[in-house]
Structure formats: structure tokens, C-alpha cells
């Protein structure tokens, strides 16, 4: 029969198909991702060594001038950069509060009473709405004269405080607004995690007399580690990406005290103070370097998990 002759040929073509196929499937997505994400990263790093106002000359040529590490050495002595960096640190540290608070709410809601599902989804609401809306809501809450937070402080201390106009407090006011949706996110991660805690282990620990904090710390939390890991990652990223709230609530004010790197970069590159693309890129590179620490950690963990499989 002819089949015997056909088989080896088909085998070769199948092999080719299987080496080629993944690249064909990858091509469109990979192309887009390289053009819009990978390549711009390289370009931004290059740009951070230039002084450029974002314009091209009449012939369409790049008009930037090479300044070496000039932008970076300028950053070193830029007080606004220092403020932004400190504020980023405040964001990072305070955002971590989302973990215990989110866990607390998750534990509070992890019951099986009637209507609890609805409660869980309503608690999750703040995460679904835009940060622009969250920012507007909180700006209104802090508003001097009639904002509920202002009135509450006035009622408690006899003296209202315009939080967003106070250079010492404004950043904390913005962070509090950011925590609201972030806590909701962490809560949902922990709720899903709690769902999968092995019931037999809990029962066994209960028989051994474990309860309350000890149960939580020694039995439940270790089982929640995957949830905690993701919660830390998304919280760190959320903290470092804080742009929307700063932009909506304070625009970096009062006197630049609420700036963070992401916002300061935008201000420098596209803001009203002119188009300093190279300087902006240098700020972005610093932010990128900070983020890379956490990204590497995440990738490393994923790689380890991959190998275990």
C-alpha cells in the first residue's frame, strides 16, 4: 500500500509543524508586546542619558543632546525627587496595612449565614470602581468646612483640619484613600484562600486545644501563604503605581509635598513645567529599578514553582 511510503514524510512535516506552530501562535501577541512594552523600556533607559524636549526638527530628526549621567546627577540634588522618593516609601509601608486589615475582614466575613455572598461582593465594591472616582470621593470627604472627615475631626478635637492642604498630612490622606480599594482586593484574595484551608487540619488543631490567635498564626496563616504572596505582590505594585489618586486629589500639592515618583515623572515630562523627556525618563528608570526588585522576586518564586511541577 502507498501508506508505508507516506508515513515518514508526514512525520517530518509533523515535526516541522510542531516546531513552527508555537512561534506562529506567539507572533502577533509577542510582536505587540515587544513594540509597546519591551522596546519602550530600552528606549526610556537610553533616553535617560539625553536632554530632550520631545520635539523633532523639520527633517524629522531627534533633537536631543547626550548628557551622560547628567540627569541622574541632577536627580541626586533635586529636593522634589527626594520628597517623591520618601513619599513612595510611605506608600509602600502604609499600603502593607492592607494585608492585616484585609485578612481581618476576610475572617469576619468567612461565615455561612444567609446573604453572606452579597455581603462579600458589596465589601469588594471599592476595588471595582475607578481610582478617579475614589479620589473624588475622598477629596470631598476631606473638604474643609463640610467634609465628613473634617467634621469628625472638628467634633473630636474642636478644630477641623484640611487634610489635603496640610503639608504634613496630605500624603497620608491620599494613602488612606488608596487603602480603601486595596484592602478590598486583599480581602477577596484571603477569602478565596480561607475557602481552601484544609478543614481536617483545623479540626485536628482544635482537638489539640488551639484557638484564636494561636490557631490563626500556626495553622491558618501557613496555609494562606499563596494568598499572602499574591497579596504582597499586588499591594507593592499598587503602592508604586500610585498615580491616579495623587493626580486627582492633590496634583502633588501642597508645595509638592504629595508627589510620588510616578507623578513627578509625569510632571517633568508632560506637565506644565515643560517637556523634559530625558529627565522624566531618568525618574522612570529609578522607579523601574525599584519595581524590578519585586518583579525579580516574583519571577524567582514562579520559576521555583515551575521546576517543582
Amino acid at each position: 500500500m502507498a501508506e508505508a511510503a507516506v508515513v515518514p514524510v508526514r512525520k517530518a512535516s509533523r515535526w516541522n509543524q510542531r516546531t513552527l506552530a508555537p512561534w506562529l501562535f506567539l507572533a502577533p501577541g509577542l510582536f505587540m508586546f515587544i513594540v509597546y512594552v519591551i522596546w519602550p523600556i530600552a528606549e526610556s533607559i537610553t533616553l535617560s542619558f539625553y536632554d530632550w524636549d520631545g520635539l523633532y526638527n523639520a527633517e524629522g530628526q531627534f533633537t536631543g543632546t547626550y548628557v551622560g549621567l547628567g540627569n541622574y546627577s541632577e536627580l541626586m540634588t533635586d529636593p522634589a525627587f527626594e520628597t517623591s522618593l520618601w513619599n513612595n516609601l510611605k506608600w509602600l509601608v502604609l499600603y502593607m496595612l492592607a494585608l492585616p486589615i484585609g485578612l481581618f475582614i476576610a475572617i469576619f466575613l468567612n461565615q455561612t449565614v444567609t446573604g453572606i455572598r452579597l455581603y462579600k461582593s458589596l465589601f469588594f465594591f471599592p476595588f471595582v470602581i475607578s481610582q478617579v472616582v475614589v479620589g473624588l470621593i475622598f477629596a470631598w470627604f476631606y473638604a474643609p468646612g463640610f467634609g465628613p472627615v473634617y467634621l469628625l475631626i472638628e467634633w473630636m478635637t474642636g478644630q477641623g483640619i484640611a487634610i489635603l492642604a496640610d503639608p504634613d498630612l496630605a500624603t497620608y490622606g491620599v494613602i488612606a484613600a488608596g487603602l480603601w480599594p486595596q484592602i478590598a482586593y486583599v480581602m477577596i484574595l484571603y477569602l478565596t484562600g480561607l475557602n481552601n484551608v484544609a478543614p481536617d487540619q483545623i479540626e485536628a488543631a482544635r482537638l489539640d486545644g488551639a484557638k484564636g490567635w494561636r490557631m490563626l498564626w500556626y495553622v491558618v496563616l501557613p496555609q494562606l501563604r499563596p494568598a499572602t504572596f499574591i497579596a504582597v505582590i499586588v499591594t507593592v505594585i499598587g503602592a508604586l503605581r500610585s498615580f491616579d489618586l495623587v493626580s486627582i486629589m492633590t496634583a502633588g500639592n501642597p508645595w509638592g509635598e504629595t508627589r510620588v515618583l510616578s507623578y513627578y515623572m509625569y510632571e517633568k515630562a508632560l506637565g506644565e513645567y515643560g517637556f523634559r523627556m530625558g529627565y522624566g525618563a531618568a525618574i522612570a528608570v529609578v522607579l523601574f529599578a525599584i519595581m524590578m526588585v519585586f518583579i525579580s522576586g516574583f519571577i524567582w518564586k514562579m520559576w521555583r514553582d515551575e521546576k517543582e511541577r
Binding site: M32, E43, V133, V219, L287, F288, I299
Partner: protein, 281 residues
């Protein structure tokens, strides 16, 4: 189960829990409730300093006003024009990349995968100048497709992570069996893998919809005018015009929040599956 089911506690504790739940929810959502109420409060109330007392009436006219006197309807439409193509594009592309990375153990596949994952977490600012410049050069600045193209590319990173892990969890024997039968690779993708991907597609669609609808940064970087600005950027610029007119700001906020909230309520299960990255199963 942790904590101990409330049903095993005394009736007193059960009552306490039943009371604490709605109070906690009220406090938690107080900011939203405040905005929802204010959006229906007559402007006159606010002018007289009646911010939290009984409103003198329900002012639907606030909503009528923002629809007739401001371009908010156009902003909402612009948001749709950016969001829906992005959902389709990112989910479509990542189905293919996820399939490629999950099914073929080719050399470098893990590197490509990690590149997608890492790229997904980078700060937007490191992309801002080049992406804006490129969009300008291509003549797509201030258009919905200029914005949507970027979003598609960026979201492909996150979606690939999700799709790849989802496909990896499918029974590989199905694909093996098909290969033995001599089914072509693209037919395996279309007829065997795709039908099993429905939950993943649903999860990513709602998630990407919400992310893109709520995006503010790229909207400000890549669009400018009423004709292309999405609702988030639009609301921000309207906010600049409506100084202290909180009934309008509130009505606008509620409108902007509505589509993702509706999406979440309709597809809750999928939404949460997507958020947990499939990692906290």
C-alpha cells in the same frame, strides 16, 4: 473551617454577628453611599450647607444636567470604544500566546513567558515617553485606536500569564490523543482547546474590561479632547470646571463607576477567579 462557624456559638454571639454585619457594611461603603445620595441632592441643599441632612427632594435633574450640558455621554461612549476592542484584542492574542507557551515545551518558552509576566508589572512611566512618541509618529495620538492598541499590547502580558496557567491545567492527554489521530495543530487549538477556555475567557474579559474602563494614566497621556477622552480623564477635566459643585461631581462619579460595577455583579465568579490569578485555587 476558620473561623469557627458562627452557628456553633451562643445565640447572643449570633445576634451580635447579625447586627455587626450590616453596620460594618454601612461604614465600609459609607463613602459610596454619600456620593450616591449627593448625586441626587438638589443643588439648593448644598448651597444652604445641607450636606448630610434630609434632602429637600430627589434631584434627577443632576443627571439630566450632566447628560445635556456636559459631554459626559460622549466620554462614556469613548470609553466603550477603547474598552471593548481592548477586551477582544487582548483576550484573542493571549489565547494564542497562552496556548503556545503551555502546550509546546520549546526552548526558551519559559523565558518568553517570564518576559510577559515581568512586563506586566513594570511601572507605566517607563513606557510613557516612547509610547506617546510612537503614537504621535503613527498619527494615532488622541484617537480611540491609539489608546486601545497600547492597552491590547500591555494587557496581553497579564492575560498570557492567566491563559498559559489555565491551559497547563487542562488534561494534556486530550491534545496527545488528537495528535496521534493526526489532527493539525491549529485545529487542536480551535476545536479542542478553545471550547474548554470559556471560563478563562469570561474571567479575563470582565477583568480587562474593568482595568481598561478605570484606566486614567494612559487616557491622560494618549488622548486630549472630548472626541476621544474616556470617562476617567473626562471626569477629571469636568471636575476642574465644576469647582465645589459636588452634586454634579457625584453624579458623574456614579456614572463612571456604573459599568464596571454592573460587570462585576453579573460575572462575579469569573471576576474573582481572574483576580486571584488562578493561583489561590
Amino acid at each position: 473551617m476558620f473561623p469557627r462557624p458562627i452557628q456553633q456559638s451562643s445565640t447572643g454571639v449570633q445576634w451580635l454577628y447579625a447586627v455587626a454585619l450590616p453596620i460594618a457594611l454601612f461604614l465600609w461603603l459609607f463613602p459610596l453611599l454619600g456620593v450616591a445620595l449627593t448625586s441626587l441632592r438638589p443643588a439648593a441643599d448644598l448651597a444652604q450647607g445641607n450636606y448630610f441632612g434630609m434632602p429637600t427632594g430627589i434631584a434627577w435633574e443632576n443627571y439630566v444636567y450632566i447628560f445635556t450640558e456636559t459631554p459626559i455621554g460622549q466620554y462614556m461612549l469613548n470609553s466603550m470604544w477603547v474598552t471593548i476592542p481592548t477586551v477582544i484584542g487582548a483576550v484573542g492574542l493571549s489565547l494564542m500566546t497562552g496556548f503556545a507557551l503551555a502546550v509546546y515545551g520549546f526552548r526558551g518558552s519559559i523565558l518568553v513567558f517570564f518576559m510577559f509576566v515581568a512586563g506586566n508589572f513594570v511601572p507605566f512611566q517607563i513606557l510613557m515617553v516612547p509610547v506617546r512618541d510612537m503614537t504621535l509618529q503613527l498619527g494615532m495620538y488622541d484617537t480611540w485606536y491609539g489608546l486601545a492598541l497600547f492597552h491590547i499590547a500591555f494587557q496581553t502580558g497579564f492575560c498570557t500569564l492567566f491563559m498559559r496557567n489555565f491551559i497547563k491545567a487542562l488534561p494534556f492527554e486530550l491534545i496527545e490523543a488528537a495528535r496521534v489521530e493526526g489532527v493539525k495543530e491549529w485545529r487542536i487549538f480551535v476545536y479542542i482547546v478553545l471550547p474548554l477556555m470559556r471560563p478563562a475567557i469570561a474571567a479575563l474579559s470582565v477583568l480587562v474590561f474593568t482595568f481598561i474602563w478605570n484606566d486614567f494614566f494612559w487616557a491622560t497621556v494618549l488622548t486630549q479632547g472630548v472626541d476621544s477622552q474616556p470617562i476617567t480623564a473626562g471626569l477629571s477635566s469636568l471636575n476642574g470646571q465644576w469647582i465645589a459643585q459636588w452634586h454634579l461631581v457625584s453624579a458623574g462619579s456614579i456614572l463612571a463607576a456604573l459599568p464596571p460595577v454592573a460587570m462585576f455583579f453579573l460575572m462575579q465568579k469569573h471576576f474573582i477567579a481572574g483576580l486571584t490569578l488562578g493561583a489561590v485555587k
